[in-house]
Assembly symmetry: C2
Homo-oligomer: 137 residues x 2
């Protein structure tokens, strides 16, 4: 999977966290919501059903792992998990930690207003903190 | 699982299609979008991670099955799959067949305007057609 390329829009909107077994895990550069994205490292996949059964199983494990981590890390109240891909066709799964007092609640975050990027140092620190605390697989 | 109850809001907004191995499959009563919902028949589950590994595996199979069916039945261009649950806490997974010419495209359907219910006969016919064509597990 050495020829994997993150879609330019995703690359522009996110920070790299770590390559897991199947997916590249990235953090959305949006201070409003704790929001990670799992991107299976298969350039040609656009739908969940494009993954082989074994890959889907791994994806499910990675969704669980990231969900459990985020819930604990952010002390969030609800996880929102989705694969939409109407704009960026590359298969990617959003995992968003939600709070009943966040800006968009109870609406979904997708398409909700404009992203609020981290300041440069702030983004680096957040990524580094996540990398330090996310358990290795 | 005989004591399963569909959340009142979901019951109000949907038509029953079929009980699968793990989930109750329902059709959203919204003519604007082909939109089904899988509801694991476990009253206490609110997050994906509340399901046991075996239940998650079955859920994944049911998501695949419904996605493949919907793509073929509606000849749709993109599947949107999500578990949100900010309003209805009972764990449920949306599966929506999208078209680049549908009303909300490229936005997600959740929180997009008001539902447009089927006329009574029309809803019954749609459910009956789906029940007739959805393969048995």
């Amino acid at each position: 999977m050495s020829d994997f390329f993150l879609h330019t829009q995703l690359a522009k909107d996110t920070f790299f966290i770590r390559d897991l077994k199947l997916c590249q895990l990235v953090l959305m550069n949006d201070k409003r919501f704790p929001w990670m994205v799992l991107v299976p490292r298969k350039n040609d996949a656009t739908e969940l059903t494009d993954l082989l059964p074994g890959e889907q199983k791994t994806l499910l494990e990675e969704i669980n792992r990231v969900s459990v981590f985020m819930k604990q890390f952010y002390r969030s109240e609800k996880m929102n998990i989705a694969t939409i891909g109407n704009i960026v066709p590359q298969l990617h799964i959003h995992i968003v930690a939600r709070f009943s007092k966040d800006l968009a609640w109870p609406k979904p975050v997708w398409g909700f207003g404009d992203m609020v990027p981290f300041m440069e140092e702030e983004g680096k620190e957040m990524v580094s903190k996540i990398q330090g605390q996310l358990p290795h697989g």
